[in-house]
Point group: C3
Chain length 500, copies 3
Amino acid sequence: MNNYKSYLLFVAIAIVVSASGSAFAASLSRATATCIECHESVTPGIVAAWKASAHFKLTPADALKKPGLYRKISAQKVPAKLKDVVVGCAECHMANPKRHKDTFEHNGFQVHIVVTPGDCAVCHPKETEEYAKNLMSEAYNNLTGNPLYRDLMDSVNAVQGYHSGKLSYASKVDGQTEADSCLSCHGTRVGVKGMKTRETEMGDMEFPVLSGWPNQGVGRVNPDGTKGSCTSCHPRHSFSMAIARKPYTCAQCHKGPDVPAYKVYIVSKHGNIYSSQGKNWNFEATPWVPGRDFSAPTCATCHVSLLANKNGEVIARRTHQMNDRSAWRLFGLVYAHAHPKKADTTIIRNKAGLSLPTELTGQPVSSFLIDTKEQNKRDERMQRICLSCHTTQWVKGHFAKMENTIKVTNQMTLASTKILLNAWKVGAAKGPSQKDSIFNEAIEKMWVEQWLFYANSTRFASAMAGADYGVFANGRWYMSKNLQMMSDWLEFKLSAKKKK
Amino acid sequence: MNNYKSYLLFVAIAIVVSASGSAFAASLSRATATCIECHESVTPGIVAAWKASAHFKLTPADALKKPGLYRKISAQKVPAKLKDVVVGCAECHMANPKRHKDTFEHNGFQVHIVVTPGDCAVCHPKETEEYAKNLMSEAYNNLTGNPLYRDLMDSVNAVQGYHSGKLSYASKVDGQTEADSCLSCHGTRVGVKGMKTRETEMGDMEFPVLSGWPNQGVGRVNPDGTKGSCTSCHPRHSFSMAIARKPYTCAQCHKGPDVPAYKVYIVSKHGNIYSSQGKNWNFEATPWVPGRDFSAPTCATCHVSLLANKNGEVIARRTHQMNDRSAWRLFGLVYAHAHPKKADTTIIRNKAGLSLPTELTGQPVSSFLIDTKEQNKRDERMQRICLSCHTTQWVKGHFAKMENTIKVTNQMTLASTKILLNAWKVGAAKGPSQKDSIFNEAIEKMWVEQWLFYANSTRFASAMAGADYGVFANGRWYMSKNLQMMSDWLEFKLSAKKKK
Amino acid sequence: MNNYKSYLLFVAIAIVVSASGSAFAASLSRATATCIECHESVTPGIVAAWKASAHFKLTPADALKKPGLYRKISAQKVPAKLKDVVVGCAECHMANPKRHKDTFEHNGFQVHIVVTPGDCAVCHPKETEEYAKNLMSEAYNNLTGNPLYRDLMDSVNAVQGYHSGKLSYASKVDGQTEADSCLSCHGTRVGVKGMKTRETEMGDMEFPVLSGWPNQGVGRVNPDGTKGSCTSCHPRHSFSMAIARKPYTCAQCHKGPDVPAYKVYIVSKHGNIYSSQGKNWNFEATPWVPGRDFSAPTCATCHVSLLANKNGEVIARRTHQMNDRSAWRLFGLVYAHAHPKKADTTIIRNKAGLSLPTELTGQPVSSFLIDTKEQNKRDERMQRICLSCHTTQWVKGHFAKMENTIKVTNQMTLASTKILLNAWKVGAAKGPSQKDSIFNEAIEKMWVEQWLFYANSTRFASAMAGADYGVFANGRWYMSKNLQMMSDWLEFKLSAKKKK
């Protein structure tokens, strides 16, 4: 208690001193100081955000002094020239200049536009390494490099025309649309198209012209060849851990009908408590202590953050491989399944030769997926967190219910697949045998909704106890209704075809 | 003003003293102290939540000293052994041991897992009694004990199979699915299946094995025979009144398309003001004073809380019978109607012999519903609250609009019912005459959406002035479109049938 | 810094003095003091809200002393009798008594119920003038005075009946329904129907009886002939600028599927940062300084507020003409187009003679719309705000993507229009040639959803970078699926018709 009081006193003094603008005067590198000279007036918003960030307040040398669990820098040491200056413009935008295709000469410095996991790795190598094992880091590649998903993507984005009573899809989708659509979350491939002179407040200047920009998608392919965008979750230029720990960050990509994680969370009891009391919680503390710093988990608590109890005993180690504590991939493709072993899922082949982790009839493609032993390990990691507030019986009961829901929703997906297979068989729709897309007709889109929207929603609702997303809010109600609608569609289509 | 200043001073001192960790040192019972010895390290999260709760800070004896409106304990007196200890683990988890089928021997104590309204009634008998008159307390029984609702439930939850071109529903629904689906909000029946020895940090221990667990549904049937779960709204283990007063609590079950109360509220002007300013309001004050403690109502303000003006004159008495201030049951079954007299609605029979508060053609089954006099009384209770900020004309105008909307939405439900009746008559779907479920075919599900989603949404939007939920967001737009779709479905179905 | 410190000291002292209830003792007019005598007990909520407002704290004379950008009053001078009293009940509810048809004698004063832009204009003439150029100010007239939109409105609100196997729309829609539906946001026409004596706590009193009341829609036609309702965004009786600057205000009308601005914003990075950190921002400052007062924009930042940098240089001038910084009207009618020149859009006629800003085939009706030069000017105004935090390339890239999305979504709307035109041509539905409504049949409603829901949603998602509302959450997925469903509907309908 005394220690804590001293700490409070220290914080109070620090605030006062800080406000007086002297004690924490940042040790800027010469390069960063030069950047600031113009950019404080040219782009004041981001300079202000950076000045409020931990990067402005601490040098790497200071950060390295923090003991064990309190440390947020994961490098054992940092290059000498970076050690004693705060992490400013230059430290990131001038890192690794040779690897960056977007490096250009700017007022005498070699600057690049796109800061990447490769740049962040100078101080945060462990997080970068973990993130590379994260499915998200391959979000661009997995989507565009898998012919099946590519086809789904095209069926969503392609402009349709209507001529002589028939709809047809454009054979090409423009890159702007893709960047504005799927790739907004998945990440674009950022390239350098050339240089361009632009008039600025400081006179004419030359800048690289980027393609696929702006973008902050999680699997962005960067001009230095790295994948991902740390700013997806630690947004610019606050680099905030607190923001990443709040559910609004995840909501940016995980709120839609395909993956309504945020929606489910927010109507769960956890979400209710967070919404009601979260404003008084400590989102800055490292390690993060359940009961002391917060009284209900957010997304990060269960999936990412370093958690410890008051005595400094680790409950969960920090991970940037988001499925490190998840046995099941609830997001069915097309059925929910054990998580893939590797982040790159384009390598998966099922018996039908498709890049899918399950057969169309539901069996998992086990050789590419983690085994039961690894699943149990991940369950154990997650459940240790639950046990901070819940008893064993509560936790086991919750997970048993969820596994049952995985099974049942997969059965409901199977029923819809059978209707689709029949539609193809009887010629009511064109499928693989006709070398046609499996995503472009109405019945096929209804089938996609069965697994992508309704079965997924039901599983997320189960996993996070936001029940209605498993019932009337895109849950079982719609799984049930959609089957009846698909079956009727088939009947109507066949009838209309016979008529002709 | 002087009084208020003294009070502020008192609060300030209390905070300081409290922070020093001495003045409010809890008077724990011996039993609770024993629980804490292990559970502070085994389940630190809930122990921390409890330590932040009023239960930890006040003994019942202290609570009983509070005058009139300031008192939150409703018992006139409490058993001697509870009076001078704070309300800790033992006081709840060891209450009424004989009534609890889940009582077990645990380190020398008779402990039960599930804390129930029966346990809370020791100090809060009035709330428990009122809650028993609340429709919610019968949410399990009313759903599962009414053959018609049971059938709706099964049609949502049953796995469907597709064989030889035909869909069929499984005849049985597994209990896990029900618990994960409808019963998550409605409540499960919690039973004791036996005992099980489990390895723990403290060695092997025996625990009862519960069925229907975990669950915190509002109509949960508990191992002591009581119904409900106070933790539905006063979540564990903060027992917080402040949380229950915030709209996020209600949102857990009242956000879906069937009953979008939260969604409507949050886009109403009330919701806007709450979202914008609520973080500065006082959610702890008892009584709750409009203007002083808050400047726009939340769900609890209008439906539950004790409200008084600055002079301590009661505006609305506290009630845990949620429809105590509501004349109309907006949630149509299948038409909106005057509220049922009793919480147990399985006793209702309409002329057709169905357990429905209205005929299929809309007439209310009046003998089971409150009469106009009681409706007026409830309206008056509610409107007294509105009048704290609005003039009589404003309030009367608002309610007149709402009653008109009840009438009009009931007419739109009637039109859909007529289409359904016609579909049954002409053999396009199978209904009661064929002894078939009235919820299992596409046209029947479209009919359900007409009243359960669209008419309900429109009425909630009207009642709470969140207009879009009465227009494009699941409101009149969908009521109107759905009728056209139903009519077309019938035409297509008949055509397809003739074709065969 | 010293200035800022002095300011802080001043604020601190002000707070202390203010709390003691003396220094800021309001200078009430005699009339207002009389109002308060009763209304503090009759409607305590609004009196309390007013007492917390700037109107209570400052006299116009004080407000006029504020220099340049700090001033919120836009009148150069105010009538002598108003100058030295705070803005209380009487100052608004007794302004312009002769113009107000709702003026009545109340305890010796000439009082009116509905406070209007005309009343606010006494102190805020510039805002009133700008608002009159705002599309919103004509929201009632544009909707009800355009035969086409009127027809859409009726098709949504009219009760449908089902007789002899046929649906039909009621020929008249009751006013209560309209007020509860579309006009709730668009505004009603508030009229005076007569006088009525009502029993009150203060004895019998006579009040005007209003029609179209209560209502706070943005285009409300008031009893003094003015249009709009300042309280739509500055809600009663806090008149808060801070509330208007928060996105919840806009959400009241801009969250539905037709115009999901709030939903898109809240899953954008801007929205994430606001949700995560906004509680610590300064929503009261005038001018509003990016970086100092907030670190991500809200709706008001980009569309309304006066922004300046730390040195007091204006980034954007305040405007109450909401499209002053918007080149494009994303809200397609039925295609997205350059903004109309005038707020009154009933004057627009396309080649087909319809009051639409585009032809049914997509061409803009250019003579009624702003030209490229004006579009560029508006883009520049908006982009200057973006440039506070983003580089030129980022900003240009973002807007290029958005313009591409406008083009592509218009193409997808065109495809649906062609299906509809074909449906009319082949007699599967009745259109203009049959003098039938173009909104009342299923295929027509599907067409409306194509542009009103899905194309709009996709464009808003693009404009504010909330990607999922352009993909699975009512975006491209639904645009694509809806076309397939429309085409199938047409096939089924024709088949069913041939059958007969």
